[in-house]
Structures are given as structure tokens and as C-alpha cells.
Amino acid sequence: MAYEPPVTDYDEIVENGTCAFCGCNCDDLDFLVKDGHVVGVRHACRLGASKVMEDMDQRLMVPMIRDENGELQEVDWDTALDKAAELIAGAVRPIFYGWSETSIETMKHGIRLGELVGAVLDNQATICHGPSLQAVQNAGYPIATLGEVKNRADMIIYSGSNPMNSHPRHLARYSTFPRGWFRKRGRFDRTLVTMDPKYSDTAKMSDIWVGFEQNGDYGFYNAIRAAVKGKEIDQDYVSGIPKEDIMELAEAMKNVQFGALFFGLGLTHTLSKQRNIDMAIEMLVDLNEHAKWILTPMRGHFNVNGFNIFMAYECGFPYGVDYCRGYQRYMNGETNTIDLLTRKECDVFMVIAADPGAHYPGGAVKHLAEIPVIQVDIHWGPSTEIADVVLPGSFIGVECAGTSYRMDGVPIYMKKAVDKPETCRDDEWIIRELHERVQKIKAEEAAAASK
């Protein structure tokens, strides 16, 4: 990697900014600002810095509507919002999907709009940590804030997760490296374990790598549980790991002072899905009879946890909430976005700060291509290619302030560093406008019907 000289040409520094990349929500960033643009970022990892700095790349700048030839044409804001409101008001089974890269303040308007038109509100958990949330509902949720790990933990486990690539500052700022109150020597006072079939970058720097077989998670954790409970393991190898190694690891896990298990989609999305996490949680509960252990899902987007928290306090359920009957319903496999799309139930789809075009299974995207799609986002992406109305939003934490929730549930108010492009609007404003316009259409319809 070539040496890059530090940025010295800037007008001002905005301190204590929050990173709008992953669920770490690192809030110690210094934005170097010149001419209203972020030209450099201090303290961020490369993922966070590149997101913040190169933000104008592929940026959606103006509202657009797809014309009869299938081309997106620039329009003014009123036209675009009216068109979107008309689609939403006329929908029978709308879905409002995304939200994980926008603010809680935006979601507040979103849920009111969802209640008004009987929409399904869902977020990225439906395709990422949804099984983890289901496991939490099955088995429990022993979590702690990241500072507990930093100050106390003497054993850190990453399972099915490669934070060196996906959450690059996680080890440095929260878990493995920092010097904590009770871990004065930082890394030297901790044992780092990676449990992953892949010899990942995180595994390379771990003290112990447990490379169990693909889809071997369930069996492996089951064996650890048995060992923790003092039971005999009757196979020589479990999930490709020798029995003796499992016994030894279980013993080590029982004898720590404070252990923290972080798990990612590598655990959530292997063959046994949420049952893996069930087993990991149960293992952890068993370990708590011997030592203090907590676990935390490695959430991806900076506010993906925020949507789950927001929906839970507003309506009692974390994601995939269906308002079609006026009140909230939640049933995995029934009211989640992918199910509704593959059953071709949805007739209008609004995506906010997410890119289903890039991530959904083919069948779901196929249906999206057949129905009106409204996109509220800041970047051009696969979803823009299937969008019928495009509403350019603003970048939370850089161009616009807003509340988000870190992977451990700590709320952070992400402040604004620079102004948004003049032609864009705040997400919060866009959704509020849509709500007001849909309310007006509904009121007119009601008045006409009563005549």
C-alpha cells in the first residue's frame, strides 16, 4: 500500500463526529473540512473513512421519476413527492424497507406513515441478523455494553465473524487491544479466540483459532456445552475438532474472569440458522454458572440495531411488522419482506437507506422490478435501476444530525459536519413530507366517499 501523506489543506476540524459505517458507531472521528466537503478523516478505519470522504461518488443529487420509456428523468421535489405519495396512498400492500442507515428521527415519521396506510415495516435484519433476533426470542439475550468488554474481559471470542475486515476498529477500540480498568496491559491481558471455518485475518492474529467444519457450528457449540456441564463427549471428533481440544477450550472458558463472545453472520447464516445462535446463547448461560460471560451480535450497519430498538419501543416487535389490519402483527416467514415479495403480495415498495437490489434473492428482486419502487437514498445503486421514484436524501452523521444505536444498544447523537448538497433533502424531511401528503390524499378520499 502506497504511503499517503496526511491531509494538511483544510479549513476546519469537526471533532467527535460519528462514523456512519458499521455497528461500532465510533464516535471519536475528526472530520477535516474544506469548502464544505470532508477532505480527510482522522481516527476512522479505512472502511469508515472511505465512506465519509468519497461520498460524492455516485451521489444521487436530484429527484427523479421513471418515464414511459423506462428512463429516469429529473423532476422537481414537489412532483417527485406527489408521485411517491400517490403511489403509497393507492397501495394495498406496501412495504417500507431499510432504515438501517438513517436516523431514529426519520423512523418516527416512517412508522406514522406505515400505520396510516397499513404498510409492512422491515429492515436489513430480515436478511442479516434476523435469525439472531429469533434466537434471542427463543433463548435469551445476555449482552453488555462494549466498555464492559474493554475494561473487564480476559477472553474475547469472535465466532463466524471477521472484524479485522468488517469492523476494523472493533478489536482496537472496544475488545482486544485497549487498556481497560482491569486489563491494564491491553492485548497482553487477554486471550483472543476465533471460531471460524475460514482462517480469516482475525484468526491470523488470534491466540487460538478453532477452524471447525462448515456448518459445524451447532455440533461444536453443543459439544462445548456438554464439556462445560462436565459430560463425556463420546465422539473423537466433533465438527472436525478433536474431543481433547474441545475439553481444553471448555475448561479455559470456564476459568476466565470475564468472557465476551461476538458473533457474526458466519454463525447466523450457516445451515442451522437461528438454532446456532440458540445454542451459543445456551452455552453462554451455562458458562455463567462458572464465570461471567456476555455475547453481542456484530451488527453491520450503523443503525440496524436502532431500527430494531425503535420498533420494539414503538410497537413491541423488532422488525417485519405488518400494519395491514391497523394494529401491529409480527410473524417470521409471514410478515417479512422476502416472503411478501416472493409471494408477490407487495404492490408498492419504498426503500430507505438500503439496497435490496444488490442483496435480495433473485425471486424477490424480480417482483420488485414488476411493481412501483420508491427509493430514498444518497447513492446510485442496483436499487436505483429498478426505482420508479428517486428521492435523494442526506448523509446522516456527516450532512445531517440524527440518533443511532450502536451494536450494544448505546445511543449516540451523530452530529452534522457539513451542509448537504442544495438539491438534496434530509431523510427526516422527506418522510415527513410523504406522511403529510399521503394524509391529505386520504382525507380527500374520505371526504369524497362521505358525499
Binding site: Q137, N151, A312, G316, Y327
Partner: protein, 570 residues
């Protein structure tokens, strides 16, 4: 704004010694007044009960552990689902209702104010976010201090001045109202999977005891002259044989002088029921209610709320993390935990308080025994420690139990509760029945006094027009004989009026208004606060995982604050 006369109601206003007097209550521009003009709108409440709006001094309604409860118990959110109407948004939940449902349900019971009794400072923003989502009821959040690392160190070193400055600063930072202490030093021990046993068992590493922490915080509280006293959840919650710990906890601040004219007590004991057990194990457990009530009867520096078991399935949640893990070990239901760096912890476990089981029956008996043995109703408040001993929507049912010895006896006779309810407690020997005036005291006037509220809890001119009207004629009903009618009436207010606005009519929410957040701003301590912040910051920067700028609660998280300004006095 409109002027109103509530005409011919039968008024219970304990703060003004009005007990069942037929009179008019008038209000204008949101406040109670002595006179109104002839334009005033008349609400005919002839022979109906009129009281100040209810005040709940201890519940868990907003914040991180509530949301963990909601996320991990969809089975609870599937109960209590109500369709929206023109006024209300949809509701859900039984023991952990959604935020909108929380506001509507308190409103329907004639309540106007509730205390969120455990706010972790690091996640105070979350608590305030939820408060914003709860309509119709003002909320008083209490930040947790009992296991805070700074507090434990100040307590150990006896630096009360600095501790007071720290508290004063942290109330501003978190927008909190008073000092909450939960299992002092025990929750810190839970950071290592342990607990403390009693008030004199030190926390690991910090080597400071619950007694030292409680005394130091009490001294700091009085030094600042805060409107509310320290609010204490003692050690050993729920353990047979814990009543001496409770009495010692109350006694350990007896010599500390009160420094506030707006309240009478220096310590508030919370959910006393869980702290009043004798015996040595669940085999030989006995009620310790008599001993705890006896101490309270003899000591005016103590107030308490009960935490009455309601015999429901509920979701227990408390900053007493080790207790919740014990509870999980006991009932095997799914365990959630949420520890907060440098500050506190918490646990969440579903629980079924079944009248068919001995222990919940015993706990039910202990709670009622406390209610009936504590003589002065100004020293006791009605709570369920929502949702720990049961959901707050059961308050009307508890009122019906308190007003009817016959109903209590019937429950014991019919085995609605098991024999431990009277064999292991003194409940069977108590035939006291609360009257409406005592009910008004334990559900509003006493709570207002305990919190030092100067604007609510009584129908005094100049106070907020927070009023509840219940569809009962006290001259016409014998509560002892008609508990179902009592429960029905107290659960469905004829009117709930808040700040002069009619929010509930005939048990239905007819108007939704934003809630207020009550917090305490200490003045005259700025220099000391500045000095203590300078000392605290290096530690803060090294050991928290957020920057201080992102730790504090910005003003927009409390869009409708009601700030109690206190002049710190030495």
C-alpha cells in the same frame, strides 16, 4: 384556554385534608383556581369521586432494559393488542406495553405522573427517546448511581463534597430527577458474575460496602437538598431472611439530617415486599413484613412503595443483575442481561406469579401485609414495581383488595392463592380496610410529597389541573362488598384531566398530548462541578467507549422539560 367547573363531586384531596367533601373543583389555563367566571364550562360529576390525578412513584416504563424485554418477548407483545382509532395509535403488550400503550393505559386509570425508576446514565438518551414516545403522562427519570465507579470511589474515600458535585453535574448531563441506588456494590460484583451478601459485604476490587455507598449518597443528596430523597433498592432482594438487611439499610441513614422542606423522608425504600422475608431458605421462609412495617411505623425518615404481586405472568427487570440470574436459575425461563460500563447492570427474566404456587402466594400475602401494617398512609405508596411484581394496569385490582378484607379472605378460602399466603404471613389476622381517603393518599398525595412535587398531587389553587374522576358514589357503595365495582371504576376513569385538558372521558382516551420530563437542575454548585469534572475527565476518556460530547443528553431529547431548580445549600 377554557375555564371549567367540576360540579358537585365528592372530593378526596388528602394534602388539603379534604376527605369525601361534596364540593366543586375549578380550573383555568391548566391550573386549579378558586373562582372562575360565568363562562366556565360545567362538567357535572355529581356524587362522583374526584381526586388529584394518580402519581406512580416507581415503575419501569422507558429505557434499555424495557426494550430488551420487548425485543426478546414477542409473546408478551402479542397480548394486549388494540386497534387504533381516531385518537390513539395501536397498542400492544401486557407486562411490557409499547410506549404509546403505556401512556394511554396510565391515562385511563386517572394517572398523570410516573417515575422511571432506573435510568443508566450512558443510555439516558434511550430513556428520553422512549419518554418522547409515551404520551399523556409526565415522567420522572432517576439515574442509577449505586454501582457507579466514581461514586464508589468517592464513598470509599469519604469525599462527600466531591460526590455532591458529581451528582449535581450528572443530573444535568443525564436530565435526571434524583438518586437511584440498586443493590449497591452487588451489581458491580455482578460484573464478575458475583454478588454481595448484605449491606456490609464489600464490592470486589473497589472494597467499599453498600452501607458506605448509601450513606455517602444520602449525605450528598442532603447537601444538595434535592427534592427527592435517595431512592433505594437494598441488597438481598428476594432472598429469604433478607429483612434485617432491609432494616439495617433504612437505619444506616437515620442520623443524616434532612435538608429539604418539600419532603419528609431521607430514604425511600422501594418494592418493600421483595425485601421483607424472614427464614433462611424457601423451605422455611416466613414473612418479615411485621418487622419492616414496625420499623417504618417508628421512623419518620422512611417512606416506601410496596411492589405488590398481582398474580400474573410478567417480565421482571431490574438493575440488580445477579438477582435476575438467580431468578433464571430458579425458573429456567430465558435470561437477558444488559450491563452498562462503569455504571450499572441489569437482568430481565419472564416470571409467572401463579396463585397455584406457594412462593408467589406468599409474596402476595407479604405485600398486602405491609400495606395493612404500615399505619401512616403518607409513608407508603401503591406500586407493583411495574412490571416486576405485575403490570401497572392491576393497580385498580390492588385497590379493591386493600378496600375489602372479605375479598382477601375469599381469595385465601377459595385457594385463589395457596396456603402459604396466610400460613407463612400475618395476612389472615389483618382485617384493616383502606378507605377512599387512604387510597387517595397512597396513590397520589403521598407520592407527590415523597418526590417534593410542588405542582401536582393536590387540588390546591395554583397547582396543575391534574384531576381524576371515578364513576363511583362513595356514599352509595360498600367497597368491602363490591370489589369488582371498585376495580372497574378505578381502571376506567370517568375523566382524566391533565394540565386542564380532558384526556379521558368515560374510560376512553379522547385526547393525546406530549409528556413532560421532570428533572432537577442544581444551582450554586457550578464551581464545584467544574472542579470535579476536571478530575473525572481523564478517567472518563480512558475507560468509557464514547466521547463525553456524545455521552451527555442534548436538550432536544427533552422537548418538554419541567425543570425543578434547586439552590444547593450546605
Amino acid at each position: 384556554m377554557m375555564e371549567y367547573i367540576l360540579k358537585n363531586g365528592i372530593v378526596y384531596d388528602p394534602a388539603n385534608n379534604i376527605a369525601g367533601e361534596k364540593k366543586d373543583v375549578m380550573f383555568k389555563d391548566g391550573k386549579i383556581v378558586e373562582n372562575v367566571s360565568s363562562d366556565a364550562k360545567v362538567l357535572d360529576v355529581t356524587d362522583k369521586i374526584v381526586m388529584p390525578a394518580g402519581i406512580d412513584p416507581h415503575a419501569h416504563v422507558a429505557g434499555p432494559k424495557l426494550v430488551v424485554g420487548r425485543i426478546y418477548r414477542p409473546e408478551d407483545s402479542r397480548k394486549g393488542v388494540v386497534s387504533p382509532n381516531e385518537v390513539c395509535r395501536p397498542e400492544s403488550g401486557f407486562s411490557i406495553p409499547s410506549c404509546p400503550a403505556t401512556g394511554y393505559r396510565y391515562s385511563r386509570m386517572g394517572y398523570g405522573t410516573v417515575t422511571e425508576a432506573a435510568m443508566p446514565p450512558l443510555e439516558a438518551k434511550h430513556t428520553h427517546e422512549e419518554i418522547m414516545a409515551i404520551p399523556n403522562i409526565d415522567i420522572t427519570p432517576l439515574p442509577l448511581f449505586g454501582n457507579n465507579w466514581f461514586v464508589m470511589q468517592y464513598a470509599k474515600e469519604g469525599q462527600i463534597d466531591e460526590l455532591a458535585a458529581f451528582i449535581s453535574a450528572w443530573l444535568k448531563i443525564t436530565k435526571g430527577y434524583g438518586i437511584k441506588i440498586v443493590n449497591p456494590c452487588g451489581t458491580e460484583a455482578w460484573g464478575w458474575g458475583g454478588n454481595v451478601h448484605g449491606i456490609d459485604d464489600p464490592a470486589p476490587y473497589f472494597d467499599v460496602t453498600g452501607r458506605e455507598v448509601i450513606r455517602a449518597l444520602s449525605q450528598a443528596n442532603e447537601m444538595l437538598g434535592l427534592p427527592h430523597s435517595i431512592h433505594v433498592h437494598p441488597n438481598d432482594l428476594g432472598h429469604p431472611g433478607n429483612f434485617p438487611t432491609t432494616v439495617n439499610t433504612l437505619d444506616c441513614v437515620k442520623d443524616i439530617e434532612k435538608n429539604s422542606s418539600v419532603r419528609n423522608q431521607t430514604i425511600h425504600l422501594t418494592h418493600a415486599q421483595f425485601h421483607s422475608y424472614a427464614g433462611t431458605s424457601w423451605r422455611d421462609v416466613e414473612s418479615g413484613a411485621e418487622q419492616v412495617a414496625d420499623y417504618i411505623n417508628k421512623n419518620k425518615h422512611v417512606t416506601c412503595d410496596i411492589g405488590q404481586i398481582t398474580l400474573d405472568e410478567t417480565t421482571t427487570m431490574t438493575a440488580d443483575g445477579p438477582m435476575e440470574f438467580d431468578l433464571h436459575q430458579l425458573n429456567g425461563l430465558k435470561w437477558a442481561n444488559k450491563d452498562i460500563e462503569l455504571e450499572t447492570g441489569s437482568g430481565i427474566v419472564p416470571f409467572i406469579y401463579s396463585g397455584k404456587a406457594p412462593v408467589p402466594s406468599f409474596q402476595w400475602g407479604v405485600g398486602l401485609e405491609l400495606f395493612l401494617r404500615i399505619k401512616d398512609p403518607w409513608q407508603v405508596c401503591l406500586t407493583t414495581d411495574h412490571p416486576n411484581a405485575g403490570p401497572f394496569i392491576r393497580y385498580p385490582r390492588i385497590i379493591s383488595w386493600l378496600m375489602s378484607a372479605e375479598r382477601r379472605q375469599e381469595m385465601m378460602d377459595n385457594l385463589e392463592v395457596r396456603v402459604w399466603s396466610y400460613k407463612r404471613t400475618g395476612l389472615g389476622t389483618l382485617d384493616r380496610e383502606y378507605d377512599f381517603n387512604e387510597i387517595a393518599t397512597i396513590t397520589r398525595a403521598a407520592a407527590a410529597k415523597i418526590y417534593g412535587y410542588q405542582d401536582r398531587g393536590e387540588l390546591t389553587p395554583g397547582y396543575n389541573a391534574d384531576i381524576a374522576v371515578y364513576d363511583l358514589n362513595p356514599n352509595d357503595i360498600d367497597p368491602s362488598k363490591e370489589p369488582a365495582a371498585i376495580e372497574q371504576a378505578f381502571g376506567n376513569a370517568m375523566y382524566t384531566i391533565k394540565d386542564g385538558q380532558i384526556l379521558v372521558k368515560d374510560g376512553e382516551v379522547v385526547k393525546v398530548v406530549p409528556s413532560h420530563t421532570l428533572w432537577t437542575n442544581v444551582q450554586g454548585f457550578e464551581e464545584q462541578e467544574k472542579a470535579v469534572m476536571e478530575k473525572v475527565m481523564p478517567t472518563f476518556r480512558r475507560f468509557y467507549t464514547v466521547k463525553f460530547e456524545n455521552y451527555q443528553v442534548q436538550d432536544h431529547f427533552t422537548p418538554n422539560p419541567l425543570i425543578t431548580t434547586v439552590q444547593a445549600s450546605k
